[in-house]
Symmetry: C2
Subunit: 284 residues, 2 copies
């Protein structure tokens, strides 16, 4: 398969399957058409219109919206939905940098089609023969994408935490990287995609960080999220991406972005070069 | 002004001002609505439909389309249009990597709203105090953007030339950079914008190259395109971009892309961070 196939797969959504969740004139979420009736059972929180879903009148600020959603999601959770419930809140914002219009349980974001943000850290070492990249294998007992390959460190962006703070926290938790070393990670861009899956929709954006590591540093699986780490020549990482779906879907995009930024994709030899650059930054 | 203002300025076009030039079902150009009547004077080449302009029946391959356009453009040129005529052909392609559907004189591309591609080379030096960037000042007698700041080397992408070949050629012509040194330039991405100006429309895409130069190398204005070069600390370059319109409009985007890729924009401190990453890669 090609690099572009990964971008197409990450953007596999069918807009016809979804109904917009509109808040203050913004599309804040996208709910699967066949699930809208479930929300109709909560008329104190949702108004089901012909072509969209809105929040009920009176839910007009952060606190009231967040509390109302909390109640609905708790009721749905009691029926067995949202198995990966975390008790962790994500901000719901039209765009990154906007004020959050409400907060919502992380595990419910795909079901509501609410965009989430996260950080992905490319851990790499410069050797005499070029760049080598640290790759993580996800634990077999993770609820999502068990056993798949992942970037060295990655994590969702909860409300109220800075991006670098989150990088430092996740680097410590997932890979036992000391804070002083983790703080050297540099923000080098962000990717965007809109991925449809059984849970719903992930119209997500990921901040990409590059962290050059000393040759003798070895990350260590710390919190059970990661099964193991491996340091691979970057050409091998590129080959794994091209080979198929060894990586969790969005990690392929983070690797492709890394390859482009580090001059490792030959613009003359890759006919999809521009399509890749644009495809990594697609608006839903 | 903000970095995002530069992206908005580069994407200042008003779609309502333009009529699509449709070829083989693709929008290959966009012609200003008030100029469509001019093309109506060439019925052997153009068919003016209600909502678009098409090529005349029979113009169904590269050679016939190119020849017909050549004839029209020569006639228009005789009336004083296209002052910057170069005798250099650009490929007209729906997307980079597609087969060209015709070729067209470079100077006529904005008038027809045909996308063009180019290469921009960030020349930089790593010093103890960080990155310094070579900036060019365009000659005062250049037909477009005279006297404005520019990336170290930049040039349009003519038909039939490889990207790296073009980089090497332009590096030699504009900055007297020897081929062996120029060949070290690495493709590190591409930016996209759609800019409306008096001439018409530039829905263009630029390949960005990074060329790290030895500390003792000094580029030299070689062919009269550039008045002078200056090596500036990257923070000063960023300040110049933020200050206003010292740079030619699209060079600001190339610098912003460089700043992002090199970890020089603080993702926590720049509320537009994601908007910048997406804005540099906007489809028209």
């Amino acid at each position: 398969m090609s690099f572009l196939d990964h971008i197409d797969h990450a953007n596999n959504w069918n807009p016809a399957d979804f109904v917009a969740l509109a808040v203050e004139g913004h599309v804040l979420g996208r709910i699967r058409r066949d699930r809208v009736a479930i929300l109709g059972g909560f008329p104190d929180t949702f108004v089901i219109a012909a072509d969209h879903v809105a929040l009920a009148p009176g839910l007009d600020d952060f606190a009231s919206r967040s509390a109302a959603l909390d109640e609905v999601l708790a009721a749905l959770r009691a029926t067995g939905m949202f198995p990966g419930w975390r008790g962790e809140f994500y901000p719901a914002m039209p765009e990154w940098g906007d004020a959050p219009l409400f907060q919502v349980e992380r595990a419910a974001c795909p079901w509501l089609g609410i965009r989430s943000w996260g950080v992905h850290v490319n851990g790499f070492v410069r050797k005499r023969d070029g760049i080598h990249m640290w790759i993580a294998r996800r634990s077999r007992d993770k609820p999502s994408y068990p056993g798949m390959l992942d970037n060295m460190v990655a994590g969702g962006q909860p409300i109220g935490l800075g991006l670098v703070e989150n990088v430092v926290k996740e680097c410590g938790e997932e890979a036992a990287i000391p804070p002083d070393l983790a703080r050297r990670a540099a923000a080098v861009g962000a990717i965007s995609y809109c991925h449809q899956l059984d849970e719903g929709l992930k119209p997500d954006q990921q901040f990409c960080f590059d962290l050059q590591l000393p040759a003798d540093f070895v990350p260590r699986a710390a919190d059970g999220e990661v099964e193991s780490f491996a340091l691979l020549p970057i050409a091998d990482v590129a080959r794994i991406v091209r080979r198929g779906f060894d990586f969790k879907f969005n990690c392929n995009l983070v690797v492709i972005d890394f390859l482009i930024r580090h001059g490792l994709i030959d613009a003359d030899g890759e006919p999809d070069y521009v399509a890749l650059c644009m495809g990594l930054h697609r608006a839903p």
